[in-house]
Symmetry: D2
Subunit: 365 residues, 4 copies
């Protein structure tokens, strides 16, 4: 008996027995209480399918209030679909999407954006801190101007970035300026949008349409839902017929209320912000806990809920033996830890302790 | 403020106040208790993402036991994706998929199969009772044999059909025979697979691979889940790299356990079968309740959980005023009622009473 | 040794010996002298690639003069690509294209339109004489208005139709009116556009943009070229970035001048019109030649260069034995003969004679 | 009046007057006499369409003789289509294609491979001399082994490379070995395959299937045709239904004989080899002519028909003023000259003279 087709990097038998020490990603957490409460409420009565229920309308209205504008909202199942569908609606197959070479759409969607757009090429740029720069964007646009290369049409920004850093409002505005210069649209991958808002203490409106973002993919999954991302169009014309696109692409939930109602749980009482702030705080706690440890280097400024540490292979091995799960950072010798809405101080402290032991061990060698 | 992009056929204000009288589809029901129990259990502890959790492995093993074979199982979010991805893996873009002209993939997926396959043409056939016949299939295959028309490669069967009828095992075997003759693969759209197994009292194995089905899409959503269909390959070679296909197409859930664990709730103690049997029984109750009413014609044999009735427009209008929701059957003057795992006898009896009143009213006119 | 992958309906050995009696299609003819002359001239000097040569600019200018408007012109290799690329630029993957059920894009492109558009569904309509009607178009648009079915966005008209009939200017204008009512764009498949202009004696401008056509695919291949169709956009906005679409889809010729220069041969001195008029006249000659033969029925009015005859199977067999090639008309007992720019009176007369013999023979039986 | 949609880098008025000094690419040349002769012969008689003519069969047979194996041959219009269709048939949308970062499929097809394959990601590798290495290929394959990144399935080799270098038979065999190790198929982009065979003096068979190549795209356009590439499958199973793929993708010529007959002109009397040898010799003549000029650096070994020179901007400007057309090499300060079947010694000598003047001028400054 094998597991159903998924790359299985850890023996399940190990997991079952181990108490969870999952910091590989914020998607190992479950459903937060506020979201679960709404999921249960939405299950009390039958309701209409495909978003014609009472919850979806309320959630959409709540988003419009949160973003202080009459934006258009669509709910899809996951981030691959959210980003890919948004990008496909922003350009044609012969256009290019400028993104950072570490962007998730380039490194971890298995060609999803190319599939949904029927061939739009991602045009990756390298620049420090995992952040695109106006110069980098202009460089890609001006590098070629012939029909043998995809015409750049969209800039995709990840906020917070894949390395846990943040674009300031000024940086976003500078990107908008270069985008205007070259007739580019701006997509924001908000897998950790909540963490960015919480960390910079700016409103969702300031972070998006007021800074020139055209379309935002706002992740609920990483913020405390089971599933469900919100695709938000600030220009309603750009959203024309997008509901058909979602349906055709297998992203229209028949029991939509089980995506939209839990979103109400996040949006009410700013739970989304509280969840993000907690995750950010745990990342700070981890960073501070190891900042004085010799042999551990913090690879990037810790501005959201991810911590990237450069630690020796022997120490990495020690951590694995302690049952910790984490990603090794491709192309670097480092490891990534991501905190979530339910990451406890105790878990962080125990990781810090193990990290100290791991390095101490090493020094004795 | 408008609702987010979905076709809104009923004013939500009405719904909120009305006690639910939803029989338009079995997707207006919620999550059954057995599934909800597992969803809550899966939320107690963090777990690995992308199906590397303990629940997904267990659910897959349970499916293999149920189907009495070492099949390959993949979980996706909804039926559009399940059918479209399965078909895309069974043929190339220049191949054709033979289906009934009432098949959901032809009439209600907004071009999903064509999108996922990058252009495979559906080759619809008309035949009685919503069921394909060997003659109909052979007719499509032999109609053209030139490269200017897509080469038929797959037969897609819906069990139970879109009009609530069933293929007998003998009919399935006859289709397998013609499929073998023309080198065709067989896909089964099992949106109501459970209802078919319950009604015919045959095992999942007998209904599928023992009858020559290559790939089954087994719907959990219509059987009592929030989301989640299982794509089951009986030929493991045909499933090669299918996990990559799911990922690229936005159908790999990061928190997979919230799809797979609830499936355990359905599969344990044959809850899936009990849910289906109840829905079938309610359909029988409705059919019998109106069988003697003058002016109401039962359009198709009621063999699963759907009832199609031919009733006068005035009576339809009366029902709507009573708050009933139902689909009018495209191309016919009829209406469709679909029963679910939680459809109560009281709801059916009240519909029967309203139907009788509706027709009586009419007679007085 | 087999032939390279193509469906081989006639043994090549037969062909080699037989003097050509090809009336199956107007694509069995070669290159007309006026086109060949330009092909040879374009070969005298090297020139820039990808349409930056002197010939392409001249051909484009000539088209603008012919159509009496500053339209945008693109040259592609064949009709499958011309129609599919034009349609893909006129709608998105979740839109529908309304066409006649006999339209070439539906019956003979092997799913090309669905492939290039990544899933746009063709919505075929049946109506007399192979021609769409305003009622038929409205019927498709109003049949469904939900997101589970592709939203109609384009009407595709074939002028001359697949059965050799013609839309009058009045009929085209009536279709434009219904298209305006439902926000539909109009595509014209002009595989035999020249034959239509010649037969109706109307100008290219009257037949297209003045009658509300948005995009025309004008076939050069059937009019006397080796390869090469012109895609003509009357609304330049609709053509935005279309050159990238052509390039990506493998339809940008590096030695473009060998497509565009021969077009100059057709456009100069109205050769395109003379070629078409001749083909039409030969079709009339064939039709008149058999009109009095008992047992032969002319299936459709002969308005362009195609003649559809209902003749008995035995007579069809006789013709084949005489070396005639022709298509049997799918779904009918008839046969199709298509005349070309180089079809001779002698060939037609010899076919008429054989047809008379074939029927006489039969009567003796 | 603008030219029809093509990027127009040179004013056509200039060209018309200037005697052609085109060395930007080998696609500025025309049709060679041997090919033209067959084109004219194929035009003498009508013939069957879609490759059922006498010429296509003969050309296919001739290829089988040339490659000393019963391979499967398909003719398409251009290189973008040949490479993209071949790759699409060798992998699925969620697979990856390993290629050099300078490969034409990566840099100059405007996303064609991604479009035809519906999303297969190109996985570019950098290595010296424009050539892939076994280590580079293994590096890409082993870099990731999870389902979030496309699974490498194909290696695409360009022979001769984009920088005019060649893979030796030993290098090809070493790549086959690593391909076997990781279950990868090998595609050869043979845009300048003839030049490679001529330069290395190896047979087409030795260069392809005997060295482990699965599919070859053999360019006729750059060797002396107007249009037409041959896609050659050495494994007939891999070619299954490929004729449908060509048809659907708009690459099946109705008047196929005008592609296949000219190929006979190239294949008879080894004209293809003579054309390539001449082009190679002209490249050598150019290289030798400037090898002793101070200030000119030859950037890559001149092994085929391309010469890459590093020359000062002022010298480049001087050449342009002399009417020479050439490409500047992206990412380098260099320029590319490509010789063709009809490049004359006089043209090369005059370029050499201008280059010497250009540099001399510069020295005086």
């Amino acid at each position: 008996m094998t597991t159903p087709g998924f790359s299985n990097t850890i023996a399940n038998s190990d997991i079952a027995t181990a108490s969870p020490r999952f910091l590989a990603s914020d998607n190992t957490s479950g459903i937060c209480p506020e979201a679960m409460q709404y999921l249960l409420r939405a299950n009390e009565l039958d309701d209409l399918a495909y978003g014609n229920d009472v919850w979806t309308e309320r959630a959409a209205a709540r988003f419009r209030t949160l973003f202080e504008t009459d934006c258009e909202i669509f709910f899809v199942f996951n981030g691959t679909a959210a980003n890919s569908l948004a990008l496909a609606s922003m350009c044609q197959s012969y256009h290019g999407v400028i993104c950072h070479q570490l962007a998730h759409i380039e490194t971890d969607e298995c060609g999803g954006p190319e599939f949904f757009s029927n061939g739009s090429k991602l045009l990756p740029v390298d620049s420090p801190m995992g952040k695109l720069t106006p110069e980098g964007i202009a460089g890609v646009v001006t590098r070629r101007n012939d029909i043998h290369y995809p015409r750049p049409r969209v800039v995709s920004i990840t906020q917070a970035t894949e390395v846990g850093t943040l674009y300031s409002l000024e940086e976003l505005q500078a990107i908008r300026a270069v985008a205007d210069q070259y007739d580019l649209r701006i997509h924001m991958d908000g897998a950790r949008f909540a963490n960015a808002c919480a960390s910079l203490d700016v409103t969702p409106a300031e972070m998006t349409w007021k800074a020139g973002v055209d379309v935002l993919c706002f992740s609920g999954t990483k913020n405390g839902l089971a599933f469900g991302e919100a695709i938000i169009f600030f220009d309603r014309d750009m959203a024309r017929d997008f509901e058909y696109r979602c349906k055709q692409a297998g992203q229209l939930a028949s029991k939509m209320r089980f995506v939209s109602a839990p979103w109400l749980g996040l949006l009410e009482n700013n739970t989304w912000l509280a969840n993000a702030s907690h995750a950010n705080a745990m990342a700070q706690r981890l960073m501070k806990g190891v900042s004085d440890v010799e042999g551990i280097d913090v690879m990037f400024p810790v501005q959201a809920n991810s911590v990237f540490l450069e630690i020796p292979p022997a120490a990495q091995q020690y951590l694995r033996e302690c049952g910790w799960t984490f990603y090794t950072f491709i192309g670097e010798g480092g490891v990534r830890f991501v905190c979530s809405w339910n990451t406890s101080e105790a878990l962080i402290d125990s990781l810090v302790a193990d990290l100290r032991r791991a390095l101490a061990q090493r020094c004795q060698q």
